[in-house]
């Protein structure tokens, strides 16, 4: 077991009183002294800063239009028609139509950047290296930090440092300069709120994070709040809600494959994915809202009329909803919104209702 890596903000986290935990090979803040609940609420009401530098950034070099064609052999999204200066949520697929990873694909003027899950970086690189021609050989970007600023006040806060950020709409990205260093801002996130992710050199990350947090509207938040926020936003967590066996259709991610891609049917696992799209998958990922206060966590059984119909993949207490919520894979026959189900938590059978996602309406700046 190798020692977990430190991000460029490691010392700063310690100074803020963060509780650091190992996560996907990195030592990251689980929470700060305010606590997960307070950090969660701060993101919904004002603004929080996350250090997400553990996420992998993969550069795919070479002519971006040629690279788009090559990447489409592996990826569900329509990259050929993606505009320069935009980001797209998309999936890296395997030949069985399962999900190797979910990622953000950012098209810059000169190249593609793929922002991937930390724990999947090695698997993604292997898949990309095996499939991409020499001109587009993927390169893992080192020496960069990634800071997420999320919440209704994020735009005003960031504008004081980078006024150009206000020109961006949801899923747009642009180059900026931070302390004279070339950096990149994209308007997106993993909380359901308006917000930004800023990719910047490690050398200026600490100062920049400190400047943002000097604003009274901003406080740092850790992995705990990141998880409860994304769950309320109905966003999947790779390794829990989706994995190499999950098809995009079962996961409710069929929308990542547009008409051109469906008609071309040239992505990995197209036969299975298109069949499931036409006939419906056997199982579906659904949202559940539970009665009472007892959360059902990942692994909890889901029942209908006393029969097991699925399993919770993510679950916890949702501070904004004020109730326990979960994502669960269940038989398609019981996946309709409003269906009454039961979650078994230890000796308790807790009533639950299939709920439309997201649990909390998103507030992206479209």
């Amino acid at each position: 077991m190798t020692e977990p890596r430190h991000t460029a903000l490691y010392e700063w986290h310690r100074e803020q009183g963060a509780r650091l935990v190992p996560f996907a090979g990195w030592l990251l803040p689980l929470q700060y002294p305010a606590g997960i609940m307070a950090e969660h609420r701060a993101c919904r009401e004002r603004c929080v800063l996350f250090d997400v530098s553990h996420m992998g950034t993969v550069l795919v070099p070479g002519d971006p239009q040629d690279a788009a064609c090559a990447l489409e052999d592996l990826i569900s999204g329509d990259l050929q028609q993606q505009r320069v200066g935009t980001a797209k949520y998309t999936l890296l697929l395997n030949d069985a139509g399962g999900i190797t990873d979910d990622l953000m694909a950012l098209r810059h003027e000169e190249a593609w950047y793929l922002v991937v899950n930390a724990a999947r970086t090695a698997a993604d690189l292997a898949a990309l290296e095996a499939a991409l021609p020499e001109a587009h050989r993927p390169v893992l970007v080192e020496g960069k930090s990634l800071i997420a600023l999320q919440g209704p006040a994020a735009a005003e806060v960031l504008a004081e440092q980078l006024p150009e950020a206000l020109e961006l709409r949801f899923l747009e990205s642009r180059e900026v300069f931070i302390d004279g260093q070339r950096a990149r801002v994209a308007r997106l996130g993993y909380t359901g709120e308006d917000g930004f992710e800023i990719a910047l050199p490690d050398g200026v990350a600490r100062e920049f994070a400190a400047r943002l947090c000097a604003d009274g509207r901003v406080q740092p938040a850790g992995l705990g709040a990141r998880d409860s926020l994304r769950l309320e936003a109905g966003l999947c967590l790779y390794g829990q809600d989706i994995d190499e066996t999950t098809s995009p259709i079962a996961a409710g991610l069929g929308w990542t494959i547009n008409k051109r891609r469906r008609e071309a049917a040239d992505f990995p696992g197209a036969a299975r994915i298109l069949r499931e799209r036409a006939d419906g998958p056997e199982r579906r990922l659904v949202g559940l809202t539970l009665d009472g206060r007892l959360p059902a966590r990942s692994g909890a059984e889901v029942l209908a009329d006393g029969t097991t119909v699925g399993r919770v993949t993510s679950g916890g207490f949702a501070p904004t909803v004020g109730a326990p919520i979960a994502l669960a894979h269940v038989d398609a026959t019981v996946a309709e919104v409003g269906t009454a189900l039961v979650c078994r938590v230890r000796s308790h059978d807790v009533d639950a209702t299939v709920t439309a996602l997201p649990f909390v309406p998103n507030r992206y700046h479209r």
């Binding site: 606590g35 609940m37 206060r293 959360p295 230890r346």
Partner: protein, 124 residues
């Protein structure tokens, strides 16, 4: 009777025929915001070290172990509506259960306040 502690971060204090049991302030701080406490049924017999309750924080579910053998004589009903009491007053109003000890002397074999404080300091 002085309060005693376990290395699993429970506290126990004999008070009359039975003993109040809860988790330590250090434990609640580590757990973070408590959203639910799953308590045993009154009348249940427990052995020292048995998982007897589960405390659910925003982050995770954690087992709470019986510090001593005995019978559960009462549970803290207030926690059902106000699980946050565990964060506010872990070693007071946020108690979990009362246990009638099979062997009251068993309590003396646990850590005293100084030994528990030293144990916690050693862990961090």
């Amino acid at each position: 009777m002085a309060r005693r502690y376990t290395k699993d971060h429970e506290w126990v204090e004999l008070d009359g025929d039975d003993a109040a049991v809860g988790i330590t302030d250090h434990a609640q701080e580590q757990l973070g915001d408590v959203v639910f406490v799953d308590l045993p049924d009154v009348g249940r017999t427990v052995n020292a070290g048995d998982a007897m309750a589960v405390v659910e924080s925003v982050k995770a579910a954690s087992d709470v172990y019986a510090p001593i053998a005995g019978e559960v004589t009462a549970i803290n009903e207030s926690l059902a509506d106000a699980p946050g009491l565990v964060n506010e007053a872990a070693e007071g109003a946020g108690w979990f259960v009362r246990i009638k000890p099979s062997t009251p002397a068993e309590i003396d074999s646990l850590l005293d306040a100084a030994a528990y404080a030293a144990f916690v300091a050693d862990q961090s």
